[in-house]
């Protein structure tokens, strides 16, 4: 699917990560020193942040949203829609967005919506927010909160997942503004045939939760996990990203008639530094244009792109034509070209 928007902009963006830093030596029990070094060299992660037991994704999202609402001059009643996007919501029922609507003291005349989406979630959530904002009156706003605590669903004895993921959140304010000069372009792809490449097998209504869901199994590489832990077919996901992402980015540039050389920065989902560099090579994009912060935060699912924005606010201030690309569970992938020249970027907060 291809979309083009005008008269809608991202007014502000704020973000938040938990205070607990988990360094790579934490995984000394499941990886040798040499393996950890090679992990750093290839995947590029040095540390990530994990919430403590009593902190949820919505708590991180709340902090980011409060930061945005306190520092951006707006009338809260102009927020007509609140979207909460996460794979680790507070409850199965009700929406976490409803809980946040109350916590943030937003108007009751509002559309609250939860979206369950993974690493492509930032692009998917932005597209949804832009479409909603476009349908509002001038000045109407959508508050899009994206938050993830994958640390809660990882098996700490599964080398194929546990070192990779980190927690974080971002709050993004999208606004209908006819005076805005910025145009935005999106494209999306899905491949349900590989739906099981990244999954939590039990706990939904296809495989309901039973005693058996907690049974720990060991795979041929010695990884231990139960059926409520995140499971990832690494090689399949790896192949998918190397095969699909670069051509889909080229296609968006072609569809939107934007020259690659006019893009100031490329913000790719921070899943694996090796993959990001391979995609950069395919696109013939120099490393100075490819922003990377996976070393600090690991893979924070859909939150990785907003974290990349807030940790590079200085660079983006004067060079605001960006291309963003998200890809992951589903399998889903999507890209967008945005201009952030009218976007207020707040510095990263620690919770």
């Amino acid at each position: 699917m291809y979309q083009k928007f005008s008269g809608v902009k991202i007014s502000a963006i704020a973000s938040c990560v938990p205070k607990n830093v988990i360094e790579n030596d934490f995984f000394g029990e499941i990886l040798s020193g040499k393996e950890l070094r090679l992990f750093e060299k290839t995947v590029g992660i040095k540390e990530r942040r994990w919430v403590s037991k009593d902190v949820t994704a919505s708590d991180l999202g709340y902090k980011a949203a409060v930061d945005l609402l306190e520092n951006y001059d707006l009338d809260k009643s102009e927020i007509r829609c609140l979207i909460f996007l996460s794979q680790t919501p507070d409850y199965k029922i009700p929406f976490t967005s409803n809980i946040l609507q109350d916590r943030l003291k937003l108007n009751k005349e509002i559309l609250c919506l939860d979206i369950n989406a993974g690493c492509a979630g930032f692009i998917q959530g932005l597209s949804t927010s832009f479409a909603l904002a476009k349908s509002l009156k001038k000045g109407g706003k959508v508050l899009f909160i994206i938050a993830e605590t994958l640390s809660k669903i990882l098996s700490k004895k599964d080398r194929s997942t546990t070192m990779l993921f980190g927690d974080g959140a971002a709050a993004v304010l999208i606004e209908n503004n006819e005076d805005s000069k910025v145009e935005s372009f999106f494209n999306f792809f899905s491949d349900g045939q590989n739906a099981d490449a990244i999954e939590i097998p039990d706990g939904g209504y296809r495989n309901i939760l039973t005693q058996n869901s907690f049974e720990v199994t060991v795979d041929d590489k010695g990884n231990e996990k139960n059926k409520l832990n995140l499971k990832m077919d690494g090689p399949r996901v790896f192949d998918f990203t190397l095969r699909e992402i670069a051509p889909s980015i080229e296609l968006l540039l072609e569809q939107s008639r934007i020259k690659k050389s006019d893009i100031d920065f490329f913000l790719l989902h921070q899943s694996n530094r090796f993959i990001i560099r391979q995609i950069a090579n395919k696109l013939e994009v120099g490393s100075e244009k490819m922003l990377i912060n996976i070393n600090e935060f690991g893979n924070t699912s859909g939150v990785s792109i907003p974290l990349l924005i807030t940790s590079n606010s200085d660079k983006l201030k004067d060079h605001s034509n960006v291309l963003m690309s998200g890809y992951g569970s589903g399998l889903n992938w999507g890209n967008c070209v945005l201009n952030l020249s009218e976007t207020k970027i707040f510095s990263l907060k620690i919770y």
Binding site: L38, S160, D239, R277, Q278
Partner: protein, 76 residues
């Protein structure tokens, strides 16, 4: 590229402690894992502009089989 240079480069890149021969089965090495596979893909891609995918990685056995996969014409 000379086969010998390729093999010593491979040994260095993957930080393999034993001496690699054309007959060495890469999958039998203690060092072989998903990170080694990434290093291998990166090395081959940088040196030959050939992208190995997960299927080709699965099919690799010996160093010679890897060389054949890259293409014998690329070696002298």
């Amino acid at each position: 590229m000379k086969k010998d240079d390729f093999i010593s480069g491979l040994q260095e890149e993957l930080e393999i402690e034993t001496t690699l021969e054309t007959t060495t089965n890469l999958k039998d090495l203690e060092e072989w894992d998903s990170m080694a596979a990434m290093l291998l893909i990166g090395y081959v891609s940088n040196e030959f502009a050939v992208t190995l995918n997960a299927d080709s990685i699965k099919n690799i056995t010996t160093v010679e089989s890897l060389i054949e996969m890259i293409g014998l014409d690329k070696f002298n």
